[in-house]
């Protein structure tokens, strides 16, 4: 056991720090994220800069424009970005989810066309999996694609698609064989969001954000060359994509949660309760300490898993433990925060509504990327080997 960074890992971090010092935008970005094209253009600019410096798609192999970073190095990368409050990465779905899937399953042409565009921010991607009647049971999806000459013709509806309103491309799951068992008739298409017949309608989230959307497909023609992997093998591809999503998501989150916790600590020192600072209250102290230790353990769990992946192979179902942990932790953290900060935390003017936003947004954490119940099913069945019930 040796938790020190290796020399290579240290050098990796040093190099990135040095690069960041010179290239990080001096001013914070302007505009609000969700539906402001100007904001997204700035994000694309930042993505481009990262790519030019060789700091996009770091975990991708060299030959595809990455730098072959190990999972631990990738975690260091995400940590550094978060520590210095770098803008979010426009390419996050492309880099973390779509790119690796194209690298694993894509044709030569697809790799040549899509990968560089993901890296330099030309293309923003979204992930079209969920449907109104197919959420946790994604494999039951019914959006269908029928081959017509050189094209697949797509009809159906997707929902909850994050970033669809700003995306250029979509990783879309469609049914290509309605007669096969549900897992065996799904394929994966790479769909241009400007395709005719495709319309996007934003949905407002509980927190007020327009973060996700509905997508309607009406005879949308997708070139057959945009089939990713083999026909009717889409489910296997999806599982890989989802595991990547779960393994990756955890690493960058620690720093964000740490900021929330540090803000909570500083804020609660200034708030008085029963005549003394809120941090003197023994119950608040217990809550703060519990949040602190759970957060540190989140990072330790994540490092342990990354170290295992680095030394062994690809992410497995254990990623579900990380997903379950971070999502439920964040909910406990922001609930404690609201309790410790007290009545004023409900006011929209208090800290610009930051705590309200965090509190509400956290409810999505145990739903997005596979609900907590689904994660527990996966842990029970695929890690512990308990018998399946459905």
């Amino acid at each position: 056991m040796d938790l020190k960074l290796t020399e290579e890992e240290q050098k990796f971090r040093e190099d990135f720090r040095t690069w960041l010092k010179e290239n990080l935008p001096k001013e914070p970005l302007t505009g609000r994220s969700e539906d402001d094209p100007n904001y997204w253009n700035q994000l694309r600019g930042w993505q481009k800069k990262l790519a030019e410096g060789g700091w996009a798609g770091v975990s991708w192999p060299d030959e595809f424009g990455g730098r072959g970073a190990t999972p631990i190095e990738e975690a260091l990368y995400l940590e550094e970005l978060a520590v210095c409050d770098a803008p979010e990465r426009a390419g996050v779905i492309g880099e973390g989810l779509v790119g690796p899937t194209i690298i694993a399953e894509g044709s030569q042409k697809q790799k040549e066309f899509f990968l560089p565009r993901i890296l330099d921010g030309t293309d923003i991607w979204c992930q079209g999996f969920s449907e109104p009647d197919s959420g946790s049971d994604v494999a039951s999806l019914s959006t269908k694609a029928v081959l017509d000459g050189e094209h697949y013709v797509v009809n159906g509806q997707k929902i909850w698609t994050s970033f669809a309103h700003m995306a250029d491309w979509c990783l879309l799951l469609v049914r290509t064989d309605p007669n096969a068992p549900k897992h065996k008739g799904i394929s994966c298409l790479l769909v241009d969001m400007k395709s005719e017949g495709l319309s996007v309608r934003p949905l407002r989230q509980m927190s007020g954000d327009a973060g996700f959307n509905e997508m309607f497909f009406s005879d949308v023609r997708v070139p057959a060359t945009n089939l990713l992997g083999q026909l009717n093998e889409g489910w296997k591809i999806t599982i890989t994509a989802l595991m990547n999503e779960r393994a990756n998501l955890g690493s960058g989150l620690y720093v964000g949660f740490k900021k929330t916790l540090n803000e909570l600590i500083e804020r609660s020192k200034t708030i008085r309760r029963n005549g003394s600072p809120a941090t003197k209250d023994p119950i608040n102290r217990q809550k703060i300490a519990q949040a602190y230790l759970e957060l540190e353990i989140l990072k330790l769990n994540s490092n342990r898993a990354l170290s295992q992946i680095t030394n062994n192979a690809t992410p497995g179902p254990e990623g579900s433990i990380l997903k379950l942990y971070w999502s439920e932790f964040n909910q406990r953290l922001v609930q404690s925060a609201m309790e410790i900060l007290g009545e004023q935390a409900q006011l929209k003017d208090f800290d610009q509504g930051k705590w309200i936003y965090r509190y509400l947004r956290s409810r999505g954490n145990t739903i997005e990327a596979g609900t907590s119940e689904i994660q527990r099913n996966i842990i029970a069945q695929r890690v512990l080997g308990l018998p399946r019930s459905y």
Binding site: L3, I288, I297, S307, R376, A380, L386
Partner: protein, 373 residues
């Protein structure tokens, strides 16, 4: 970064697992539970032969000079086997002596401990001190040629079998640690059976016990430091013991859920049962991450180690109890019986929860550090 036991550390752990299966199966654990002092001389001699009493001690004292990470790997197996033995007491005491910087005492005792000719324990808690050494009220009263020790110690591990007691006392306003043979005049020991019968506690009374200045192995800042370090090591050994218990409870529960049938299907196919098991795994693996990290941080003298120890003990204490509760629920009626071995682990986890401070205690320790007050 390599966040896992190394190959040799895993080998040590596997050989310990085989050892305890062979030398102290649960049938034997139950026999020892019923005895007053829970001591099995043959088992102990064999543990000594493995070098485990000198695991962390320097080679010059016949120790193996391994780190606290190896200690954690070993202690995990003792938890998994629910082993009754004076290992925790003796390890805590030996680290306290080793940290005391008192060469004559070290020369006299450390080799003896490593070789198994001496067993030792630490008498820390007064009736009302909890795990905070600063609240100890047992006193060393100066006399013409030394001191008289008076006080009452609680929760002393394996006092009945220890050859020497390391007593934490106040010498004026300083902390001092006195090493005293158990049979010295004025000492009376009474067994205080607890919920976990695999560990044997005593109440030890000191009635004007004569103590010479050579008996004091550390005083003042040195005593504080040595005691703190030894308690950190002991805390991690208990965290690892908890991990072993949790591992056994999870494995036993999952195995049962796969084979026990109700309504014509294995109960493990019911989601209410699956989710209990999934949560148990999350608690277990998170406890493991926290404990391995704390062990490593201590072995590296990392400045973050004090926090790491409190984090690990707070988390493991809560998790051990929680996993026990869920195991008991999933096992149904059989899990509630004396006959089923769950009771051994359930109680061990409850006892371990309290040893070296429970979750509430360690969260407050952590809060002091985080909030800087």
């Amino acid at each position: 970064m390599h966040f896992d036991l190394s190959k040799p550390q895993k080998l040590l752990q596997e050989s310990a697992r085989t050892f305890f299966k062979r030398e102290c199966p649960l049938t034997r654990v139950r026999e020892l539970m019923e005895t007053g002092n829970g001591f099995d001389e043959t088992l102990w001699t064999h543990m000594v032969d493995q070098g485990w009493t000198g695991l962390m001690l320097p080679e010059k004292y016949e120790g193996l000079e391994l780190s606290i990470v190896e200690l954690a790997a070993l202690a995990e197996e003792m938890g998994r086997a629910c082993t009754p033995s004076p290992f925790l007491a003796t390890t805590w005491a030996s680290v306290l002596i080793a940290e005391s910087e008192n060469t004559p005492i070290q020369t006299k005792y450390l080799k003896a401990i490593a070789e198994g000719s001496c067993m030792a324990t630490v008498a820390l808690q007064d009736a009302e001190s909890g795990w905070n050494p600063n609240l100890v009220a047992t006193t060393l009263q100066p006399t013409d040629n030394g001191f008289k020790l008076t006080g009452e110690k609680w929760y002393v591990l394996d006092a009945a079998t220890a050859d020497v007691l390391l007593v934490v006392a106040k010498k004026r306003d300083q902390l001092a640690i006195a090493l005293i043979p158990r049979n010295r005049e004025g000492i009376s020991i009474e067994s205080t059976p607890s919920i976990d019968e695999t560990r044997k506690f005593s109440q030890v009374k000191f009635n004007e016990v004569t103590v010479s200045s050579e008996d004091l192995i550390a005083v003042g800042g040195q005593a504080d430091k040595a005691l703190q370090r030894s308690m950190h090591v002991g805390t991690i050994a208990v965290c690892a013991d908890l991990i072993g218990s949790m591992q056994w409870m999870l494995e036993t529960t999952v195995e049962y859920a796969k084979t026990r049938k109700q309504f014509g299907v294995p109960i493990g196919s019911f989601q209410a049962v699956q989710h209990q098991c999934a949560d148990m795994l999350l608690l277990l693996e998170s406890s493991r991450s926290a404990t391995y990290y704390a062990a490593w941080a201590l072995s590296e003298d990392d400045p973050a180690s004090e926090r790491a120890v409190s984090m690990a003990k707070a988390y493991c204490s809560d998790s051990g109890r929680e996993i026990g509760n869920r195991a008991c629920q999933v096992l149904g009626g059989i899990g509630f019986t004396w006959e089923h071995d769950l009771q051994l682990y359930y109680k061990r986890a409850k006892g371990d929860e309290l040893l070296f401070g429970d979750a509430t205690f360690h969260r407050e320790e952590l809060a002091k550090q985080i909030l800087n007050d």
